[in-house]
Subunit: 143 residues, 6 copies
């Protein structure tokens, strides 16, 4: 498939979670100044939209970059069952000492998917309808 | 304006909140059976989309059913500042003994808006992109 | 078709127009107080989304309430060619003495469609992603 | 629950299907004239969006009109497994002699859901982003 | 215009088509295993959303990268009239021996547009609301 | 933060404005031929959707690329207060001799933001639901 044309496949997922933005490395007032209402002690929540993008040659026999059934299974096992309907700060060990901002969520998700999804090139996370975040997987990780 | 034609004005708002579905009136297993993953002890969250619908005669001078600036101010004061970026169960007294399902959120919001917004006829609350809930204000309340 | 079940068909259209909210019946300061930035002398604009809803028995032979091709032709001829890519205040005689609020746009559009579209029951006009307006055609007009 | 306030719950589903609009009751030219490109012999297809609306009193204990898990199970069993990823004309016996217009799809879906979903009041079917169809369940069916 | 700043223009199109995923190069069971319900013998369908992206210097006189009217005409003539309201497998010769996956649809569309649209850099095809595919035109083709 | 992973943050804004496409550098007939209905003397309007993308290392303490509160303040001060609810041709000096196409709007917005937003890499402007334009900030500007 060395000469097959390359295409990008992007799949959309959704999970609902709550979080509180608070860094133990900063004093209380600094947390309030930086995170504002996102620092509310009891937290708040979002419907997160996650987009996973895979690049690769189009298999000449199947006409596919990757079987979506396989992609769904990996994302569900590695990410969705752990993130959906949770309190990110309290239910996930990885956010005990890391502030669950969208940027850090992306890094955590990348860590869970980059070795299990060959060809993973980009992750996009939408927190609300007004903003979204992207993380491009560094090339060296992508073998 | 007795004979002015009647129109409906709908305005969309958004708030991000977390909640946990759990009824103290039911045993633990019943809560798990009924609410499933929404019963997760630490809660989860959503971007709620609220639509407020007002009906009334079109003012012949202004050409408006209601000034959106006024509507925004009421919804912000009565609902958004209390609901946005909160944990509904822990931050709002009204959900201490009432399960914060979308249906009960609608009843609570209706109670806060029905006497302050003349002509309020309908509230719609979207919890995720896959479901939404509506509550029509009973006529007798609407004077 | 007297006993055929009734269904509602809704079709979405779009037009881009500019307008200025200003009523000659009110003094300058009143116009500014009521319309705010919508009173800007040179106007501003929107992508309007219009939804036209028709109700009627499902024709047992064609399986349709109304042929969408016919509906499109009427809406185009009566509304879109006159409203799209115009300045509502300056290009349309009907808004010379009537403030082009969404409510008044609905009344004008209803006047143009109610006698040409049998079964027209509702019009919906979205001005921005944050608000929309509806006008239900009075029953007596609908014959 | 006689005095509990009533709310409406709407759930969105999606299925992908192909169809051909062609009525055996009409001559070939009539079919082409009425259905146009939808009469293409080999058919075409859509991503259909189905909205199912249920009305009922809010259960004071659970705070719900109906458990979405139950609703999903019924719609999946009665509709989605039969309609999704099919050719409506060739895979479904019900459309062998009935033209699979959106209006007739709604009647067929209503027949499958009205006796299994208590409180079913409305079905909405979106065929493309430019049109949708609604069918309100007659009151007498809804007991 | 050698020194004019470069911008990207993207235009959205839509077509409704049916298809069946089935490769003659694989045995029946392999087809079922790989394509699942998309292998249904009679096919199924989608509302495809196509995005065509053109890059180029902004013409200092017109202020445009390319006139959208011209772009629309090319896409309509080369793609839409052939793809819209068709059965991709049976109506298009190009998919007689090529499986009409979204990836292969992109390659086919690229072949039809790359020599007629100067500056074509990317094509994006959305099959359902949950996935989309992209193909970047190789530089060497783009002169 | 030299070794911190880099992420992209994109924020969506909206403004409503009117414009007329007309170039003084071209004769009347040329303007009509090129701009068509967009050349209508009194103008028309749009709800513009602007997306501002910032790239940068994720701050290890705050977990953020940039504080959205700061980004909002800059975009509001530099762009939105000047563009929202205006007639671009008549209210903005910068479009007195420059045709306010989306491409030129992007260049103007880039000029206002590139020196005030560190890490600005891309601007996207959607004029209608059917098209959008992008401008990538040249690297040399981005320090």
């Amino acid at each position: 498939m060395a000469n097959s044309p390359v295409a990008h496949l992007t799949r959309r997922y959704e999970f609902s979670a709550s979080h509180r933005l608070h860094s133990n490395a900063m004093p209380e007032e600094e947390n309030q100044r930086i995170y504002g209402k996102c620092n509310n002690p009891y937290g708040h929540g979002h419907n997160y939209h996650l987009e996973v993008t895979v690049a690769g040659p189009i298999d000449p026999t199947t006409g596919m970059v990757m079987n979506i059934v396989d992609l769904d299974a990996i994302v569900r096992t590695e990410v969705l069952v752990h993130f959906d309907h949770t309190n990110l700060n309290l239910d996930l060990a990885c956010f005990r000492d890391t502030v669950p901002t969208s940027e850090n969520l992306l890094l955590e998700i990348a860590g869970r998917l980059r070795h299990t999804i060959p060809g993973l090139v980009k992750l996009k996370l939408q927190e609300t309808g007004k903003n979204f975040f992207e993380y491009r997987i560094p090339m060296s990780d992508n073998k």
